[in-house]
Structures are given as structure tokens and as C-alpha cells.
């Protein structure tokens, strides 16, 4: 393993070191790469500041022993991430749901392994586990996280949209006066911070790994160049696009969640309301009750339960989809 590390010459500048680290981590989770680059830069800059007499190349040569060469650091982060992911992963709901009957549990496990490799389950036992999987969604913590995110996204969506549209129009229109420039810069900075905040929300609720540290900026350039880089960085614009998209998406998520949940719950509890409160049961069309038959009661409850679990599936699916969208637009290297 050691010979492999020495295959490449040690970098002589900090940007070169970070570039090698990024290359060594290529293919890993972009969010983890962002964190790793941030950590490495903190260490390297601190070391450089501690040893004022030494050149950057000398400091890096020393650091390769203590902090690690880029390839070693990359391997350490990859290993840690695997361990952390294993610790964070929620137990598989399917196995807990049917734990009482070992045969079905085995079938469910087999089916979820199959679904991971995208083979549709067709045999008879797989059909039973399909049922378990349909109701097992209720035991997946990500389902409720996603559901809560859907309800929350209306508020955050409105806020992000307002912030971006106000900030952009205000600073651009004030650019005629000199005061528009600092406002624009403040606004761009705030977008980066908000992107991290949204990342935290998404990671907590949807379980998608998002960066915990800001992106790496090359500090060897002057501040004018760094400001210029902020404009040419595609991520600045993609983040704003994401925030603008959050208004329609958030409205859609909120509407879907509230409508489906209230319809499902009222279908489930309508018969109970009829029994307990004497509220007439039925389906009204233009003030005429077309569905007051007694046999509709169990149908109503069944449809309500199915709709409720269907909604949970939809929420989990939307959570996954939105996590992927956020990852595409907010985290790119």
C-alpha cells in the first residue's frame, strides 16, 4: 500500500495538494469531498501560519507525515464514511414488519435484496412480501421525515423564493448607484449560507448526505478575483435556480401532503363519526347524498387505509426525488 502512495510526487502548493486530494476522492460522495477539502485546507493553512520561515513546499512535505499525503487522506475519509453510513443506516423496515413469521421475513429480505438489483419479484412468496413492503413503509423513519419536509417546504419555499427574487432585483437595480455592489455581494454570500442551511434540513429529514462545510475557495487569489469567481461559479446560479424552484415545488408538496392526508383520514374515520356523533355518513353531490348505503362503511375505511399508505409511499418517493434534485443543484464539483 505504501508504494502506491509514493507513486505521485508530493504537491508543492496548497491548491495543488487540494487538487490531488480531490482527484484521489473522485467518484466519492460530493458532499464528503467538500468536507474533506475544507478540513485539509484548515490544517494546511494553520500549519503554514505556525511556521512562518518555511516555504509552502516544505510545510506540505512535513504535513504529508503528520496529516497524510492526499491519497492517504482520501482513503481515511472513504473508510470513515463507510463506517458512519453503516452506523446511521436505519434498520430495514420489511424485516421488522414481518419478524413474527420467519418464512415471510426471509421472503421479504430476499425481495428487498431483489428490488435493490431491480429484479421484479414474480413468484408466489414474493407477492406476500409485496404486501409486507406496502405496509412496511409506515416503519421507515425516512417516510415521516419526507412527509414533514413536504409540509415544511411551503414555508421554506416561499422564504427562499422571496429572498432570491428580492435580493437579485434589489441589488441589480441598485447597481446603477455604487451601493448596489456591496448589496449584491452580501446577497451572494447569503445564498451560500442558505444553501448550507437547506442542506442540513435535507440531510436531517430526507437522509441524503449533504455538505457540512462551505465550498473550498482558492485563497491565493486576490479578493477581486474571488468575487469574480463567485459570478462565474455555476453553483451560485444553480443554487439560486433551486431556491426559485422551491416555490412551485414546495406548493406542490404541501398541497399533495395536506390533500391526500385529509382525504385518507376522513375516509377512514367517517364511519366512526357517523357512529359516535351521529353525523350522517355519505357522499354528497350537489347537496344530494348518493352514498349513504351501509355497505359503503367498510369500503370507505379500506379505501382510506390504502390511500394513507399510498400517501406514505408517495412521500418517501418524493423525498428521494427531492434529495436527488437538491444534490444536483446544491452540491456539484
Amino acid at each position: 500500500m505504501n508504494t502506491e502512495y509514493n507513486a505521485r510526487p508530493l504537491p508543492t502548493t496548497i491548491p495543488e495538494y487540494l487538487e490531488q486530494l480531490r482527484a484521489a476522492l473522485s467518484g466519492a460522495d460530493p458532499a464528503m469531498i467538500q468536507d474533506a477539502l475544507y478540513d485539509a485546507e484548515e490544517y494546511l493553512r494553520s500549519e503554514l501560519a505556525e511556521q512562518p520561515g518555511k516555504s509552502e513546499a516544505e510545510v506540505i512535505a512535513g504535513v504529508a507525515g503528520s496529516y497524510g499525503a492526499p491519497e492517504e487522506v482520501a482513503e481515511i475519509y472513504r473508510e470513515t464514511e463507510v463506517t458512519v453510513n453503516r452506523a446511521l443506516r436505519a434498520p430495514r423496515p420489511a424485516t421488522r414488519w414481518v419478524a413474527a413469521t420467519p418464512v415471510v421475513a426471509a421472503a421479504a429480505t430476499a425481495a428487498s435484496v431483489e428490488s435493490a438489483t431491480a429484479v421484479p419479484p414474480v413468484r408466489e412468496p414474493a407477492q406476500r412480501s409485496l404486501l409486507a413492503r406496502f405496509f412496511g413503509v409506515a416503519l421507515d423513519p425516512h417516510t415521516y421525515g419526507a412527509l414533514f419536509y413536504m409540509l415544511l417546504s411551503l414555508a421554506t419555499g416561499v422564504f427562499f423564493f422571496t429572498w432570491v427574487v428580492t435580493g437579485l432585483t434589489l441589488s441589480v437595480s441598485l447597481l446603477i448607484l455604487i451601493i448596489g455592489i456591496p448589496i449584491l455581494l452580501l446577497f451572494l454570500g447569503s445564498v451560500r449560507v442558505l444553501s448550507l442551511v437547506e442542506g442540513r434540513i435535507i440531510e436531517t429529514m430526507l437522509g441524503v448526505r449533504m455538505p457540512r462545510r462551505p465550498t473550498y475557495t482558492d485563497r491565493s487569489q486576490g479578493w477581486l478575483q474571488r468575487i469574480g469567481a463567485m459570478f462565474s461559479d455555476s453553483r451560485t446560479w444553480l443554487t439560486m435556480l433551486y431556491f426559485v424552484l422551491m416555490l412551485p415545488l414546495g406548493t406542490l408538496y404541501f398541497t399533495l401532503a395536506t390533500t391526500l392526508l385529509s382525504v385518507a383520514l376522513s375516509l377512514m374515520f367517517a364511519p366512526m363519526a357517523a357512529l359516535v356523533f351521529g353525523h350522517p355518513f355519505g357522499i354528497w353531490v350537489d347537496g344530494v347524498n348518493v352514498g349513504d348505503a351501509f355497505w359503503l362503511w367498510p369500503v370507505s375505511i379500506t379505501v382510506g387505509v390504502l390511500l394513507l399508505f399510498g400517501t406514505l409511499h408517495l412521500a418517501r418517493g418524493i423525498g428521494k426525488l427531492h434529495g436527488a434534485i437538491a444534490k444536483q443543484l446544491l452540491v456539484r464539483l
Binding site: M1, N2, T3, D35, Y38, D39, A40, E41, E42, Y43, L44, R45, S46, E47, L48, A49, S66, Y67, G68, E72, V73, I76, Y77, T80, E81, V84, R212, R213, P214, Y216, T217, R219
Partner: protein, 120 residues
């Protein structure tokens, strides 16, 4: 690399997994003020030997995990030298955990030492 070296590396890695967390908590418990990653790494380097003298890049993910577990708290301060630094401070949960960990460590160390006694 010989096979013996590979065994040693694997053993060191497994040994360091828990001890690094313990050492990080201890360093922060003793520190009078919050420390950032580099200072913590240097402190461990000063006193550290054996598995604690491993690559310091391994400390940062562990710090993040300890913070995620609620044993540490952190805040960010800007710095002239580079990117803003994240300062870590141990909280009450962390101190309680550290006390338990120290007890577990002492028990383990004693029993391992008595097992190892007399081996040349």
C-alpha cells in the same frame, strides 16, 4: 509490505477506532477554551504515541461524529490564516460520556495488562 506489517496495520486501525474518540474527548475536557481541529491534532501529536500518532486527517471525521452524537458543541470563527475555523467544546453529555469511557478504559487496560504479564 510483508504480511506481518499488514497484520500490524490492521491491528493498529482497530485499536485506534475507539481510543481516538476517547483521546479527543479528553483533550477537549482538559482544554480551558474551545479548540479547532489543527490545535487538537497538534496537542495529540505532542503527547501521542502508538495509535494516537496516526494520520491526523483521521481526527476531523471523528470530531464531526462526536459533535453529531451530541458530545461536543462547535462554533465557527473567521481566521486570518485561512478558511473560518470550527472551534469544538465539550458539553455536559460529553463529560458524562468521558467519565464512563475512562472507567471502561481503565478496566480494559488493567485486564489486558494482567493477561500480558510475563510474556517476553
Amino acid at each position: 509490505m510483508t504480511e506481518l506489517d499488514a497484520h500490524l496495520r490492521k491491528f493498529q486501525k482497530e485499536l485506534s477506532t475507539g481510543t481516538v474518540s476517547l483521546a479527543l474527548l479528553a483533550v477537549l475536557a482538559k482544554a480551558p477554551e474551545p479548540l479547532y481541529g489543527y490545535l487538537i491534532a497538534k496537542e495529540l501529536e505532542r503527547v501521542g504515541d502508538g495509535v494516537l500518532s496516526g494520520k491526523q486527517s483521521a481526527l476531523y471525521p471523528v470530531l464531526r461524529n462526536l459533535e453529531g452524537a451530541g458530545l461536543l458543541e462547535s462554533h465557527v470563527e473567521p481566521s486570518v490564516a485561512g478558511p473560518p475555523r470550527r472551534y469544538y467544546r465539550i458539553n455536559d453529555d460529553g463529560r458524562a460520556a468521558l467519565r464512563q469511557w475512562i472507567a471502561a478504559w481503565n478496566a480494559t487496560r488493567d485486564s489486558v495488562e494482567s493477561v500480558l504479564e510475563g510474556i517476553k
